[in-house]
């Protein structure tokens, strides 16, 4: 395959690249070739395909923002849509679009498109980058062309140099003038960085581990348990080096308004071959151990200590749908009750399991009687939830992001190419830019005006043209 591709690229057909007059976009004339494989490759590298894929992926992505993505097919089965629509949505895996085979195939197609395109189209731009000058285009149809009233000389060329143009004399009295050539490397940087990011994401998916681990205060979890219960475990992932993570303390800071301000876990990490470390972890401040990140992610109520006539008993709490908690039931005088807790800032409710009616309120420190018993809440036992993650793809993704930003910084700038040359016996200023000609034309008009002012007055003055944007 590689052989064929090389043969194609170096074949005279493809080597015959044509600089279109306005932009130096390389047109691959191999479209003419009858050879199917060649045509397929040219198609795979085409901008038409790129535009179609970008718009298609954008459109397809909308589905996942309309249908909940984390609840499995059941959200569709119970939806009140037309049965046909439900069938269709199930068939395209609309409940998990971003992992559906067809969506991944679209992304892969974009990846391939990008690869082929970069490889077919970009080397000419690098070669061009190495050139000090390019000859003036033959055709004048698409260039802008303005008359100059006098021949170039040192002072007049300085008018251009002062404005940041680089001037080279490529033939006697023929000047090539350009500005911002570096911009031409931007797209290469951008596209290569996209590869780095995608490669990093794929590598992370293959070899990463991602787990959600709740730990109660005083308890601990071991590395192998984390890996075993991980939500995401890539097929190439390695087991973690052994360690044990213990939650020493957990604290929630509230604001006076009752909102959560921040929550903190004090954890102790012990490993057979490392020093024990104690650290505070909070949201946005993870603990990092050998490439494994522990993020403070969530918290909840695991149990509560109930006092009954002075005796303490521990009831486990399970989360209910609305974010509230229900305790395991207990008997009072032959009847079943449970504790219902909406949030830590509100009193807990003592609820009968028969009709779910509240028969009393409980606030820590204040007792309530029910029948002949006195109940109180001694304390809540909280758990702290950690997102534990190991993603070996991250360095590559970040490297790609850095490269991408560098390339992006160049995007708003434009490369201008001008020629000072003769058209018959007149001096002319010719020019082109890859990013539109209207603004370039204005800029050229100003340059020509300054130049011509100089020609008329012969003093190099008259720099009255207003400066145009430097971009």
């Amino acid at each position: 395959m590689r052989r064929t591709m090389q043969a194609i690229v170096h074949s005279p057909v493809l080597a015959r690249v044509r600089y279109t007059r306005r932009r130096r976009v390389v047109t691959v004339t191999a479209m003419m070739a009858s050879n199917f494989r060649r045509r397929a490759i040219v198609f795979l590298g085409s901008l038409k395909l790129a535009i179609a894929l970008l718009l298609l992926i954008a459109a397809a992505s909308i589905i996942g923002t309309l249908i909940p993505q984390d609840q499995g097919p059941s959200v569709l089965e119970t939806a009140s849509f037309h049965p046909r629509l439900i069938q269709f949505l199930l068939a395209i895996k609309a409940y998990d679009v971003y992992h559906a085979a067809w969506f991944v195939a679209l992304l892969t197609a974009l990846f391939v498109n990008l690869a082929v395109c970069t490889w077919l189209r970009f080397p000419p731009t690098w070669r061009r980058y190495g050139l000090q000058w390019v000859a003036r285009p033959k055709s004048t149809a698409e260039q802008d062309l303005l008359p100059l009233l006098g021949a170039p000389n040192a002072v007049r060329l300085d008018i251009l140099r002062k404005r940041g143009f680089r001037v080279s004399e490529y033939a006697p009295q023929q000047y090539f003038v350009e500005k911002n050539k570096f911009v031409r490397l931007g797209p290469t940087l951008i596209h290569i960085s996209l590869f780095a990011i995608m490669a990093g994401a794929i590598w992370g998916g293959l070899s990463g581990v991602n787990a959600s681990i709740p730990i109660q205060v005083g308890e601990s979890v071991r590395a192998e348990d984390i890996v075993r219960t991980a939500r995401i475990r890539g097929p190439l992932s390695q087991p973690f080096a052994p360690f044990e993570l213990k939650l020493d303390a957990f604290r929630i800071d509230f604001r006076p308004t009752g909102q959560v301000k921040q929550y903190y876990s004090r954890v102790m990490l012990t490993a057979p071959d490392a020093q024990t470390q104690t650290r505070q972890v909070w949201v946005n401040e993870p603990l990092i151990y050998r490439g494994v990140y522990f993020y403070q992610a969530f918290w909840g109520v695991a149990a509560l200590s109930l006092t009954r006539n002075g005796q303490t008993e521990r009831l486990s709490m399970t989360p209910a749908k609305t974010g509230a908690y229900m305790s395991s039931p207990f008997l009072v005088g032959g009847q079943e009750f449970l504790i219902f807790l909406r949030s830590l800032e509100e009193p807990a409710l003592l609820v009968s399991t028969k009709n779910f009616e509240a028969v009393g309120q409980l606030v820590p420190g204040i007792e309530t009687s029910l029948g002949s018993d006195r109940f109180g809440i001694d304390s809540y036992h909280l758990y702290s939830g950690f997102q534990v993650k190991h993603d070996p793809g991250i360095p590559l993704v970040y490297f790609g992001c850095g490269l991408l930003v560098m390339g992006l910084l160049m995007v708003p700038f434009r490369h201008r190419e001008l020629w000072i040359t003769q058209d018959g016996d007149h001096w002319v200023l010719m020019g082109r830019s890859h990013k539109g000609r209207v603004i370039l034309k204005r800029e050229m008009a100003q340059l020509a005006q300054v130049w011509n002012d100089h020609c008329i007055r012969g003093d190099g003055g008259g720099l009255n043209g207003r400066e145009l944007a430097g971009t």
């Binding site: 901008l47 954008a58 923002t65 309309l66 921040q262 992001c401 944007a469």
Partner: protein, 292 residues
């Protein structure tokens, strides 16, 4: 001297609302009555709006003790600020004709709809744990500046369609007549507004992309995943892809004109959904940032 910051905050927002609204009237007079001086009045009013937005942001920052772009109202005032900055950048660099006429109502709508938000979206509120990060300062402000650049690109596209419409009706009236130069002028304006749209998208696109990258870094820092396909992330990707399609279309097909400006409008719609619509769509990681 004691400065009453909360009062200054309100004062700034009200000023910005009035001045951008009046600027529109000034630009309208300039066009209809053909009074060039009114254009300068309009620009002056837009400048006053910029000052108002800046005062509001500074005051809110001092009152709330955090970067003043943390709830919907604050972010809309920030948007207004950037819209006005990019408006002036466009005026100074490219000097488009009648641009204020299109830009000022957009600026006015931004601040007017911000002030009509229910009180819950407006008040200075402390930040949730996940938002207490220096990333929010960077991420949100970059994203909003990209929205502002796209808003001005949308304004330029509207300018294109405006001249296109005028050129169409003009051509009927003046076919071959003494108005030919007039039609040529319209065509020059068309090409100009088309290219102005392109220039502004070339400005907004990198800002959006850098905004998405910083957002991914923030998410990675706060939640441990840099991409989780939540609705806001996904819509920013959709917006990004639409504008990427725009840029690539311009490279090859010479899609200049109607199709390109249409795509710019489509990108703006996607941007609006990313910015506002998503909050109503569903609840993702970002939802609590704005709607609580």
């Amino acid at each position: 001297m004691v400065v009453n910051w909360p009062e200054l905050e309100t004062w700034g927002a009200v000023t910005a609302c009035w001045t951008t609204g009046l600027a529109f009237l000034a630009f309208l007079f300039a066009l209809v009555l053909k009074r060039g001086a009114m254009t300068w009045v309009g620009r002056g009013l837009m400048g006053a709006g910029l000052v108002g937005a800046l005062v509001t942001l500074v005051a809110r920052g001092l009152v709330a003790q955090h970067a003043p772009w943390s709830n919907l109202w604050e972010s809309m005032v920030t948007l207004l600020f950037w819209v006005l900055v990019f408006y002036f950048v466009t005026e100074i660099w490219y000097r488009p004709r009648h641009f204020g006429l299109i830009a000022s109502p957009l600026a006015f709508l931004t601040i007017a709809s911000a002030s009509m938000l229910p009180a819950g979206f407006k008040g200075a509120a402390p930040l949730m744990p996940a938002l207490q990060s220096y990333w929010i300062k960077i991420h949100v402000v970059i994203i909003i500046s990209s929205y502002a650049a796209f808003t001005m690109a949308f304004a330029a596209a509207l300018g294109y369609f405006f001249f296109r419409w005028r050129a169409g009706s003009q051509a009927l009236v003046s076919a071959g007549g003494p108005e030919v130069s007039h039609a040529a002028d319209f065509n020059a304006q068309l090409a100009f507004f088309d290219e102005l749209t392109y220039r502004l998208i070339l400005l907004g696109f990198p800002l959006l992309m850098v905004g998405i990258i910083t957002g991914a870094m923030w998410a990675n820092n706060a939640w441990g995943t840099y991409w989780s396909w939540d609705p806001k992330e996904t819509w920013s990707l959709i917006t990004w892809f639409v504008y990427a399609a725009y840029l690539h279309a311009r490279i090859t097909h010479d899609w200049a004109g109607d199709k390109a400006c249409g795509l710019a409008v489509l990108g703006f719609v996607a941007m609006l959904i990313t910015y506002i619509g998503v909050n109503y769509l569903s609840s993702g990681l970002h939802s609590y940032g704005f709607i609580r």
